[in-house]
């Protein structure tokens, strides 16, 4: 395992939706420049935990968190933290590609613009860099003015990744980013994720265990709101310590 320093630390974290406890005493350290995968059956809390890392759960009424989540040593639920700055630092890619109803260029330039960059040539540069980063530049450079809603699902998802990269985050959260895509687009996104970890720390939620094996450095298995096991991916899949983990990864439930 690498000796990269811990980027994200989850410390004794509980999460409640009203009276329902969705996450129970989660403890997790995710190192820099690695891909961490969250796996587990539907409703196990893996997406909930992911959305806690950029405070998207704040938008859910009745959501309450105790314990701590630190990014670069800073408690992100501290009152002094600016949520909008946090979400700029912690980008997110969603399950369904969700490009905005505007041109490809405007989609990618969206983040920089809302954070105050107006200069045209600076924006041009960011758009090109981000689209290159998402491996999409050569495919779309001649049709940046085309509406992003009109391109294929796989391209839409890569536009969304480019859009997330454009605000220069350090962390990318991916919530089942390939579950709505065909196999070819899926493998393009997976290759991309492995390139991106050079510069970013990536956390990915996936239903697809092969995907976790293919791309992640570490895997956390969740079940009924608890983190059952967390280990380097090879270890977790080769020699699971917990019988529940073994049952899940061998396909006996889920």
């Amino acid at each position: 395992m690498s000796d990269n320093k811990d980027k994200i630390v989850v410390d004794h974290m509980d999460l409640f939706y009203g009276d329902f406890q969705a996450l129970k005493d989660i403890n997790l350290r995710m190192p820099e420049h690695e891909i961490t995968a969250f796996i587990g059956p539907s409703g196990c809390g893996k997406s909930t935990l992911l959305k806690s890392l950029n405070r998207m759960n704040d938008l859910v009424e009745g959501c309450k968190i105790t314990g701590k989540i630190e990014i670069d040593g800073q408690d992100i639920y501290d009152k002094k933290v600016d949520v909008n700055q946090l979400r700029k630092q912690v980008g997110m890619v969603f399950q369904q590609p969700n490009p905005f109803d505007m041109s490809i260029y405007d989609n990618v330039a969206y983040g920089p613009r809302i954070h105050g960059i107006k200069n045209r040539s600076a924006l041009d540069e960011i758009v090109e860099r981000s689209l290159r980063g998402a491996g999409l530049w050569d495919e779309v450079k001649d049709r940046l003015k085309r509406n992003a809603v009109g391109v294929s699902g796989g391209q839409q998802q890569r536009i969304c990744i480019a859009r997330a990269l454009a605000v220069e985050p350090d962390i990318l959260l991916m919530d089942e980013p390939t579950s709505a895509l065909d196999p070819i687009s899926t493998s393009a996104i997976e290759d991309l994720a492995m390139e991106l970890k050079e510069n970013y720390t990536i956390v990915i939620v996936t239903h697809n265990m092969q995907q976790a094996v293919r791309i992640s450095d570490r895997t956390a298995f969740f079940y009924l709101g608890e983190m059952v096991e967390y280990a380097p991916t090879d270890e977790l899949f080769a020699t699971p310590k917990n019988p529940k983990t073994e049952e899940y990864i061998t396909g006996r439930f889920g």
Binding site: R87, G111, I114, R163
Partner: protein, 302 residues
Amino acid sequence: MTNKAASRQRKEKACKTLVMLCGLLIIALVIVIALFLVVNGSGTFIQYHHSVFEFLFSSDWDPSDTPGVGGGKVGALIYIVGTIYTCALALLIAVPFSLAAAIFLSEISPKFGARFLQPAIEIFVGIPSVVYGWVGMTVLVPFIAKKFHAPMGGYSVLAAGIVLAIMIMPTITTLSADALRSLPPRCKMGALGMGATRWQAIYTVQVPMAKSGVITGVILGLSRALGETLAVAMVIGKTRAFPKGILYPTNNLTAAIAADMGNTANGSEYNLALWSMALLLLILSLICIALIHLTLKKKKEY
């Protein structure tokens, strides 16, 4: 057993026929009314040999009221301008307020909105237009007279525009709020996930994405404003002159028809000129409906 089945089938058939007849009746009624308007409304141009150009672009209005005798003047421009002027002003006032109310309803405070604002808006729709006109006459008109020293005691384009704006706000608000609510949450999440503030997400992503619904609401509101008669007639001042500004009185198509239709001889030039104005209103609302269909057709699926 077979008897029962046969009687059931007869009933089924009778119901089907009845429903179909009702549907056909509605279609027939629409066609008949439209034909009636076309036949009567074209009399000005066919029977009395006026040009469409004169009707639309001249302001000389002096039609003859003796059946069979033409030679008067049928320039309806003042009424047309009055209609456009009051409707445009109404939209100018109503659209920003309605959009704000729609955002409040769908985004800012859905619970409070559903409990208080939505019922209030529904009540608005149910108020008869004579009430709007009367309130306008007793509250708004004197207010405008006092505040702005308007001529004609406050009867004005402004009064008509405000009354119309209040009448069309519920339509625009309801349709815009529905459009905003029907957007999948992932669009909003995408913006918020980039670090956009709630307000930035609303005006840079959500409102633009809901624009076809908003436009539909605006056009529906506009067609209501075009056709509204009583409330406008009560506050517009019914003066046959171009308004020199929003504080001046004028007249519009609907108010002129309503005021004069009973006083003209059937088939006279005057009478048919009023029918032409009615036909013009029908054409305007058909254009509105066509625009709505065009907007909805262009609507994308997200």
